[in-house]
């Protein structure tokens, strides 16, 4: 029941992003349901799979926990399902995950978690391989786009064979790398027909007795998997010096050592958990020394060190724990080369790096021209000037409100945390005006419960919902407030104001942040009320809104005080030949700058 035979004439070439390859691999292997919550670098998996609607069910769920549960339910019925998220999303989904590991599944289920060494666009450098070991779930770690494609089918097979969800964890360079790969034609794809849910309380209802038996079975299964190594765990024979690696680092290692005289023996680990013990011992016995080149946690290094002890092997294991490899950040090709050359005693060619390189401009990310968050932050800033305040931020484009000149984010922890952080600060400093800023998507994902907590436990704070009617930072995905689903349906929106009222917030005021005077007055009135109160700043994301006529600065009125620049820092306001001007190709005509100029020198253009 291999999903595709792999004959060349049934294949065609496609130039695919890793995430697209994962989605296509899943579709080719009979995917029925895919759910997820957007997060870089995982987002494109679900978006690519969504092109197969209506043949499959696709959902951007409210958060990762809900997504995982929907996929699990489908899998209980025999569907092949996939749930996608980034590594920090797995923290949110970990409650159902830990239990599902015991209960198991019927149809194949893949938990696709993208890790982000660097980190390039995440809060943490956590390693999902470690999470796999903690949850005792089999884990796949692809090292190229084509391997990712093929591995998805293997992951489904393993999942069904052992009735367990499996973790599939690419990293950013796999997710966002492209390659021209062979893809089977659509009529070669496997079609999975779910047989439906079969009632069996001894299987689907988790109880201590069941958990005890399941725990024993899991340990036994994992022992068996350790001995029966997956084909992707490769040894490439070479000298008595070994290099163990995984993921994208394995591709770098391969490339650097390819064609070397007296090349080292390579070990690529494709299933970090359960660790391929037999294959690893075979590798360890063939070398005197091993350099482990890994990203995030030293998973392979620890396993190899343990196996040397267990099997009384004299092989020396080196890597991050021995200080030979850096302990944080991404492995670049240049860095990996450096480590390998040092390890093998190859002299690095002298780099005559020019030392006189000119100072380069920095290009930090900023809120877009016309971004409604700029207006919202500015309104609160003006309203609360001179008062003792704290501004608790959250995860989204609006985290950029921390930059100058707005400087309006004092804390940022994780999705939805701002509201309860503000609550905690207020408990210690009751004289401080505590604000929490949260975007609409993040509000639904995990701030609703926080708001209820704050209300019920008598907090004194202002919740500011920055409602731009989309999930902007990850590329504008729908959420319950947008009124559309990934299945293409137009549905009733869930009203944030009604949700807040329902949660016990009595005062909820919705205001357009671009009506600056009204916005400032609203903040002033609301901030002084007791208890938990909310302001919803409602205005759509500038990127998905048709731009208005650009604004211009009236040369005769402008006195070059540059207050507009110092107050709001819109990227469309630039200095050209010593004069403050608005760049018409960037300006979207939001009008905020016009309201900040006391001389009324900024006006809509005539065109």
């Amino acid at each position: 029941m291999l999903p595709f035979p792999g004959k060349d004439d049934d294949m065609h070439k496609e130039y695919l992003m890793g995430n697209a390859a994962i989605a296509k691999g899943a579709l080719a292997a009979g995917l029925n349901v895919i759910t997820g919550y957007p997060g870089t670098p995982s987002t494109e998996v679900l978006e690519t799979a969504a092109k197969a609607v209506p043949d499959i069910y696709v959902e951007w769920s409210v958060n990762e926990k809900a997504a995982l549960e929907v996929a699990a339910g489908a899998s209980y019925c025999g569907a092949r399902s996939m749930v996608t998220m980034k590594q920090v999303g797995l923290n949110v989904a970990s409650d159902p995950l830990m239990s599902l590991a015991y209960v198991g599944v019927e149809g194949g289920m893949i938990i696709m978690v993208a890790d982000d060494p660097g980190p390039i666009s995440s809060q943490t450098e956590q390693d999902t391989r470690t999470f796999a070991a903690y949850s005792k779930l089999p884990c796949f770690d692809p090292s190229s786009v084509e391997e990712a494609f093929a591995m998805v089918a293997d992951a489904f097979e393993l999942s069904e064979k052992y009735h367990t969800p499996v973790i599939f964890r690419p990293t950013t360079r796999i997710c966002h790398g492209y390659a021209s790969i062979d893809v089977p034609d659509k009529d070669e794809w496997y079609v999975n027909k779910p047989k439906g849910f079969e009632r069996d309380t001894s299987r689907w209802v988790i109880f201590p007795g069941l958990s005890y038996r399941a725990h024993m079975a899991i340990e036994e299964r994992n022992r068996a998997l350790s001995a029966d190594s997956y084909k992707g765990n490769l040894i490439i024979e070479g000298s008595r010096k070994g290099i163990a690696s995984h993921g994208i680092s394995a591709a770098y290692v391969r490339e650097i050592t390819d064609g070397m005289e007296d090349a080292p023996t390579l070990f690529k680990v494709a299933t970090p958990f359960p660790f391929p013990e037999d294959r690893a011992v075979e590798f360890l016995s063939s070398v005197d020394e091993v350099m482990c080149i890994e990203e995030l946690d030293p998973v392979i290094e620890r396993e190899l060190t343990y196996l040397c002890g267990k099997h009384h092997l004299p092989t020396v294991i080196r890597g991050r724990l021995t200080g030979d490899v850096h302990t944080a950040g991404e492995n670049t090709p240049t860095y990996v080369k450096d480590v390998i050359y040092r390890y093998l005693g190859i002299a690095c060619p002298e780099e005559d790096v020019p030392t006189d390189a000119p100072k380069l401009p920095v290009r930090p990310p900023v809120l877009c021209a016309g971004c409604p968050h700029r207006a919202s932050f500015y309104a609160v800033k003006v309203a609360m000037r001179g008062k003792k305040t704290v501004f608790c931020g959250d995860i989204g484009c609006y985290t950029l409100g921390n930059a100058q000149p707005l400087d309006m984010v004092d804390t940022c922890l994780c999705m939805g945390a701002g509201v309860n952080i503000a609550q905690g600060i207020g408990r210690i400093e009751p004289d401080r005006y505590c604000f929490a800023f949260v975007g609409d998507s993040t509000f639904f994902a995990s701030a609703v419960t926080g708001a209820m907590n704050a209300v019920y436990d008598q907090a004194d704070m202002t919740l500011v919902v920055l409602d731009n009617s989309t999930t902007a930072m990850t590329g504008h995905q729908p959420h319950p407030g947008t009124g559309r689903t990934m299945m293409g349906e137009v549905v009733e929106k869930i009203d944030i104001e009604a949700v807040l009222h329902g949660a016990g917030v009595e005062t909820v005021v919705t205001v357009d942040p671009f009506d600056l005077e009204k916005a400032v007055n609203t903040v002033r009135c609301i901030a002084d009320l007791e208890g938990v109160k909310a302001i919803i700043f409602k205005s759509p994301c500038a990127v998905i809104t048709k731009p208005d006529k650009p604004y211009v600065i009236d040369k005769d009125k402008c006195v070059e005080c540059r207050a507009c620049i110092r107050r709001i820092g819109c990227p469309a306001i630039v200095i050209s030949d010593g004069k403050t001007v608005i760049e018409p190709s960037i300006c979207v005509g939001c009008g905020l700058c016009g309201q900040t100029c006391h001389l009324k020198a900024i006006v809509p253009s005539e065109q």
Partner: protein, 194 residues
């Protein structure tokens, strides 16, 4: 080794200049010739204006990115970005550089502007072959600022480092862009003669 058949290309510039699109067109042109292609991009968040790079490799290889000093050619859409990524270009490699600067969006606030001629001088004395052009101005002459990436691509093809010629790129371009943009892009591709 594989050196003679592997071509490493680095594209760099600023968000919104069409770098990813250019990278995809080169990839399509290479695939049309039957060559394997890998690439990797570093792109920022939804906001525009950050540095963007695209690593592109034509030929047999394992990884989508290559190390410093390994690019055969750099196609830089902006002079300061060319200097920023210069370390990836091999000694004697070719740098196609648009001389038109893009100031950081925060320049007005922080005074972080710079002088592009300083960047060009630095490139000139760094041991690489520099082909400088004002693609922005050329694109404006042709009548569409959006053809700037075609002009950069044409200059790269004319340098002879890429494993195909301009007629081949033109054929592939015709198949990939929307019909109404074919003529203007053709004009841009054949406008570069350096």
């Amino acid at each position: 080794m594989r050196g003679d058949i592997l071509t490493n290309i680095l594209l760099c510039g600023v968000g919104g200049q069409g770098i990813v699109l250019t990278s995809k067109l080169i990839a399509a042109a290479a695939m049309e010739k039957g060559s394997p292609v890998r690439s990797a991009e570093t792109i920022g968040m939804a906001q525009k204006g950050g540095s963007v790079t695209s690593f592109l490799r034509i030929g047999e290889c394992h990884a989508p990115m290559f190390g410093e000093g390994e690019a055969d050619i750099m196609i830089a859409f902006e002079p300061a970005e060319a200097v920023r990524e210069l370390r990836y270009l091999k000694k004697g490699g070719t740098a196609i550089v648009d001389t038109h600067p893009v100031m950081p969006v925060t320049a007005a606030l922080t005074g972080g502007g710079y002088d592009p001629s300083v960047m060009m001088e630095h490139l000139d004395k760094s041991g690489v072959k520099v082909i400088a052009l004002d693609a922005q101005a050329l694109a404006a002459e042709i009548g569409s600022p959006r053809t700037m990436n075609m002009i950069m691509l044409a200059a790269a093809v004319r340098s002879g480092v890429l494993p195909f010629d301009i007629d081949h790129v033109a054929e592939v371009m015709k198949k990939t862009v929307q019909p109404q943009f074919v003529d203007i892009n053709m004009k841009a591709l054949y406008s570069v003669t350096v």
